[in-house]
């Protein structure tokens, strides 16, 4: 025992020594970082386009008012300081005075006001800036956001890819709603971020180059970023392994992650996905049939063995998820899981009035929207057979076919993956809000409705005191875990892969690759 302890000590000492030596590395300037995007980019303008593929180039091209450190604390970026008024209805941003756009024009508060207007009109997440009534611009470097109600979610919504400041003199030449189709969203893009666009070839690559007049002195470190578009995960894995790619994010296949972890030259980490907050769950339609009975939903949770999902299906690559808020979020309150208990499950089903008749208690369907989660769905079928629930797996030809079923409530159960997108107001509320039932994919598709949950979300949305807000979300999570409109199983095993000897300071903060990589360098 003592030996093991001693060995552990040495290992920790060694690890900390290695950590210090890694810190001692001075960032080097120059070089071309070759990285990858896993699917084609629809639009580079992150003010009008969300999503993880746009997030990476978007955050390099455009700067946002704030950025976040790894402890979820806001840090200055375009805004050197900011104040929230006592009543929470006024947020003042004091902008840096040396920020320029890539065409040389200075960035002013008018651009901030314009960008908020564009995002409100075009961005798919309406909840981010819905309470922002107007943006006042008392001088060129002060922007004052006037809110209709306190809106703590605004802080995270002003960081990462969510609030890209775009130049009014370029994108303001037509109607506000036309910006989503602007000709310069993919060509001659102009932002104020650390890198400017050299070339975007649809299906091939995005090439960015250092912006010499970037407002942070001495940054970025890299001269150039080549983002290759490689959609096949197996091909990407080979390219990391043979050194063609220095870095990549959002790798999610357990088999490939575990294989890459064994490659000596690579570091494979699940850090950097807290704010995007991707979680997997088993959705249960609470509006019809046996699943409208909470006892049946609980019985299903007791019969589905999360341990099997984590060990066998995710092969140890995914984290636990219990409450709808990503475990890395400051608002996460872990809930007791439903440990496998077939007897309890059967008892609950009996109680709910579903005795075994001719070998089956009921027949339910289960859907899935993409091939990657078919094993989970097949497992649910097998697991529920043990408590005499017959499950029919329904395949969908493609994503829209599945999305249509979900969006209109035409399903019993389904596997689903939903992202938090920073603050719970942006990505979490949509799933449980009773005014958002069956409004397309990733709305409240389960038809869940609970007055107290609605009230808690409404209170948390306007609560500026962090501790009080956490308490509200803790109660919210406890109810969700108890009433189970969805059964939370695991976080999506997104991993960032980089060449240990080549890449210094990879983007593994809360927003992962959806942040400016002005501090990333090549060793």
């Amino acid at each position: 025992m003592r030996h093991i302890f001693k060995g552990l000590m040495t290992a920790t000492a060694l690890a900390s020594m290695m950590a210090t030596s890694a810190h001692a590395d001075e960032p080097k300037k120059g070089g071309t970082l070759v990285t990858v995007l896993g699917s084609n980019v629809r639009n580079l303008n992150s003010a009008v386009q969300s999503g993880i593929v746009t997030g990476f180039p978007g955050a390099q091209l455009f700067a946002s008012p704030l950025r976040y450190d790894e402890n979820w604390e806001p840090q200055p970026y375009l805004a050197k300081t900011w104040e929230v008024s006592e009543d929470g209805l006024t947020v003042t941003l004091n902008l840096v005075d040396n920020a320029k756009f890539h065409d040389g024009t200075p960035l002013t508060s008018a651009d901030v006001a314009f960008s908020v207007e564009v995002i409100k009109a075009n961005h798919p997440f309406k909840s981010m800036f819905a309470p922002v009534e107007s943006v006042e611009t008392p001088d060129a470097h002060t922007a004052v956001l006037k809110l209709s109600k306190p809106h703590p979610a605004l802080m995270l919504a002003m960081s990462g890819q969510l609030m890209s400041i775009i130049p009014k003199h370029i994108y303001g030449d037509g109607a506000i709603t036309d910006v989503k189709a602007h000709a310069r969203n993919n060509k001659d893009v102009v932002g104020s971020g650390p890198f400017k666009l050299v070339e975007f070839k649809n299906g091939e690559h995005v090439i960015l180059e250092r912006f010499d007049d970037f407002f942070i002195e001495g940054r970025p470190y890299l001269d150039k970023i080549v983002m290759r578009i490689i959609t096949d995960p197996a091909a990407r894995a080979i390219a990391y392994e043979n050194g063609e790619l220095h870095m990549g994010a959002f790798e999610s296949l357990p088999r490939i992650i575990n294989r890459l972890k064994k490659v000596e030259s690579l570091t494979v980490t699940s850090d950097g996905y807290g704010a995007i907050g991707p979680t997997d769950w088993l959705a249960m339609n609470t509006t019809k049939g046996p699943l409208s009975n909470v006892k049946v939903r609980k019985a299903i949770a007791y019969a589905v063995d999360k341990n099997f999902i984590h060990k066998a299906l995710m092969q140890g690559t995914a984290g636990d998820s219990t409450s709808g808020i990503h475990p890395d979020s400051p608002f996460y309150a872990a809930q007791d899981g439903y440990d496998l208990d077939l007897e309890k499950s059967a008892a609950l089903l009996d109680e709910a009035g579903f005795p075994v008749k001719d070998g089956s208690r009921m027949t339910l369907t289960i859907d899935f929207g993409w091939p990657g989660v078919k094993p989970q769905v097949e497992y649910v079928k097998a697991a529920l057979k043990k408590v005499d629930i017959t499950v029919e797996v329904r395949s969908s030809a493609d994503f829209p076919t599945w999305a249509k079923k979900m969006g209109t409530g035409d399903f019993d159960m389904s596997w689903d993956t939903v992202f938090n997108w920073g603050d719970p107001v942006i990505g979490v509320h949509r799933t449980y809000d009773s005014t958002n039932i069956h409004k397309g994919v990733w709305s409240n598709t389960q038809g869940y409705s609970n007055a107290r949950v609605d009230e808690l979300m409404a209170l948390a949305a306007v609560e500026n005191d962090l501790e009080k807000r956490k308490a509200l979300y803790a109660e919210f999570q406890a109810i969700i875990a108890d009433e189970l409109p969805v059964y939370h199983t695991n976080t999506v095993p997104y991993h960032t892969v980089y060449n240990t000897d080549k890449v210094g300071n990879p983007p593994i903060g809360i927003w992962g690759s959806s942040t400016p990589i002005d501090m990333t360098y090549l060793k």
């Binding site: 629809r42 090439i207 249509k404």
Partner: protein, 325 residues
Amino acid sequence: MIFLQTLLVRSVYAAILLIAVLVLNFSMMHLAPGDVADTIAQANGGADAEVLEAIRAEYGLDQPFLVQLGRYIGNVLQGNLGYSFYYREPVTDLILQRIPATLLLVFSAQIIALIIGVFLGVVSAQKPNGLTSHFVTFIALFGYSAPVFWTGILLLIGFSLQFHWFPVAGMRDVTIEGGLWIKSLDILHHLILPMVTLASVFLALYSRLTRATMLEQLRTDYVRTAYAKGVPHRKVVYQHALKNALSPVITLAGLQFSAVISGAVLVEAVFSWPGLGTLAFTSILARDTPTILGILFFSALVVIVGNLLTDLAQKLVDPRIGGKG
């Protein structure tokens, strides 16, 4: 003159075929549940209901089916393939950007498959039961029965991962600086693996067919006569017999042209080759109807032209084939 007439008749058929392709596929796309608004929401990581409705209204997806179809066909007749819903770019631009890469891949694979396939066929026909012949059969059947994406990954693991001889993906290395010559070499370097992968399927067909027709030719009277006259073996095989054996091979190659294009979709996906195949693949997944229809339109056009070229080639190798086709 007869040739011109053929061309005219062919063009009329082609126009009818193209419209049929569009109407049929438009209808099929419409029958499937869900639409591009869902995939746009997917790319965004979600979207509010009002945003989804706005997208549907913008693209006219809330209009009755016949109105949508009529609008689309009307635009096509005016030479306008429309805007991609997903990328918001003119479909013609999207396709024209991608066409060179696909043509390069498809033609080079087809030519390589033909040259090597015919050569292997001829070699194995001369000693049909010899070791070489069995070896050729084995290689050919292996290439034919293995799925292309599997062959592709296998070649990647072998030649990119183990030996580092060829790059993994894409069509060029943008970090390479240099003139046209260096850039062309770079493209060739990237082309080899996808080309071999795609060729492996069709090589089997061509070598098997060449072998069979060559065996047939080598047993004919004129070959015996040639030998009797004292014509050397090599000359008999390559100048007399092969010329007659080629005709069915060329017909097959022409017929296979559409298969090569559809094979290219998978090969392009594996190697991230920036051609029409990857565009087709992503557009189908995205339900981007105008882009898919545009690609089908161009593919149909390529197949029609390919068939026409086949007819011409046949006339070159066999003058007996008449003008009516």
